[in-house]
């Protein structure tokens, strides 16, 4: 059973139900949606949703930073594995090493910042990356880097602290640079559009959900 397919229509319904009156944050709405999905499809299907929605229900800068940390964990693990699995050599091998180092540093910086703000860094999820060769690795890398750029760009305007915003900006530019370099390796346009699209937290989580084991 695909958890995602079950939950989506429920989210939409619940969203409408609470639209008037209650001042619910989007994450609270999603949490309610998950619980509603549980009511419809049985308690067994709801557990992963509740845990994920709870992680999202953290508000403010810590919530955004933990969301970013999850993505950086994904990228960091992805490139660490790629050193063994991607079958890369030469320029691509060096690029994987470089990007992997950057993502590790992002994980470290985000973890420190969350602690500094009195928050609790999310635990590192387990990941599963389904690629069989260099070509498939590159396509997945492109997806993650482009999604990362859109995720930071989408979340940044909601950041309250100027310092946190500055740090996020500093990281997103590096993600964009990674994206361009990976795209060049993939024989694709480094910057396909004049404006990078933005993605909401929910859209990003939906995109990365299949890779979280």
């Amino acid at each position: 059973m695909n958890k995602q397919e079950l939950a989506q229509p429920e989210l939409a319904e619940v969203h409408l139900d609470v639209a008037d009156g209650a001042d619910l944050s989007r994450s609270e709405v999603i949490l309610k949606g998950a619980l509603a999905a549980g009511a419809v499809y049985g308690a067994m299907s709801v557990a992963p949703f509740v845990s994920r929605a709870l992680a999202m229900s953290e508000t403010g800068d810590v919530g955004i930073l933990n969301f970013a940390l999850t993505l950086e964990y994904l990228e960091s693990t992805f490139y660490e594995e790629a050193k063994r699995r991607a079958g890369a050599s030469g320029e691509l091998k060096s690029l994987i090493d470089l990007i992997g180092r950057d993502e590790d540093e992002h994980v470290g910086a985000l973890t420190e910042t969350i602690k500094k703000l009195g928050g609790k860094p999310v635990a590192e999820p387990k990941f599963d990356f389904p690629y069989k060769n260099t070509k498939e690795f590159l396509e997945l890398a492109r997806t993650f880097e482009d999604t990362g750029v859109s995720a930071y760009n989408g979340a940044a305007p909601q950041i309250k602290s100027k310092e946190v915003l500055g740090a996020a900006g500093s990281i997103v530019q590096v993600e964009a640079r990674h994206a361009a370099a990976i795209r060049l390796q993939n024989k694709q346009e480094p910057s396909p559009d004049a404006f990078d699209p933005t993605l909401s937290k929910a859209q990003v989580l939906k995109a990365v959900e299949p890779f979280i084991a």
Binding site: L98, A181, L184
Partner: protein, 221 residues
């Protein structure tokens, strides 16, 4: 294809204390091209140029107050980039896929000009005028180096303004341009055989004073 910087072309080093970036002007008797390299010991927490909030005085003075001032500052830089790529495309120095990349980047900068102009108007401001520009277009190598400089500087310039922007919509637009400038910079750095992330894992912002100083040689009026 990789073109490398020649160490002996570097004639002057200016250390800017604001962001601790080093500016190295390329000499040689012609109009100097400013090349910027990140200082190795940079720490992102010390370089939040405008983290205290508020628009930098030089922006207010030359481009206007608040978000309109920041947008007009960005618009001026985008005009400069657009003109640069247009001149380069006409120069005959590039062919094939390199020319295609230059045209593509130029088109994207032109779209930034259009979007920023519309945004300034939407906020009730007067868009900054298009500056007259002149770029040294001697060889493919020096032009690529200049392109790399301009794009890395552009990305740093946007990053330097993020925290000073008040409107969420303006910030969102600026961010989606900022990351495209970062993509351009990385692509050119790749072409130049230089690191895609010259500042390391955290991009370093540049304040308006240093950005304007660097582009000054290319603005005729």
């Amino acid at each position: 294809m990789a073109v490398r910087q020649e160490g002996n072309a570097l004639s002057r080093v200016v250390n800017d204390p604001v962001s601790r970036r080093k500016f190295i002007a390329l000499g040689g008797g012609s109009a100097a091209a400013a090349l910027l390299v990140a200082c190795g010991s940079d720490d992102s927490s010390t370089t939040t140029t405008s983290a205290s909030g508020g628009v930098e005085p030089v922006i207010e003075e030359k481009f206007g107050k608040g978000d309109v001032g920041i947008l007009n500052y960005a618009l001026t830089l985008e005009y400069l980039e657009t003109a640069f790529y247009a001149d380069v495309a006409k120069s005959g120095l590039f062919k094939g896929s390199d020319l295609a990349t230059i045209r593509k980047f130029g088109e994207e900068e032109a779209e930034h000009v259009t979007a920023l102009t519309a945004f300034v108007k939407k906020l009730g401001g007067k868009p900054a005028p298009k500056p007259k520009t002149e770029f040294p277009l001697k060889s493919a190598k020096s032009v690529l180096e200049l392109a790399g400089t301009v794009e890395n500087l552009g990305a740093a310039a946007y990053l330097g303004q993020a925290a000073a922007i008040k409107g969420a919509e303006v910030l969102s637009a600026a961010l989606s341009i900022h990351s495209v400038e970062g993509r351009h910079a990385a692509a050119l750095n790749t072409l130049l055989g230089e690191s895609i992330t010259p500042d390391g894992a955290f991009a370093v912002p540049a304040g308006a004073p240093e950005v304007l100083k660097s582009v000054e040689p290319f603005i005729v009026s």
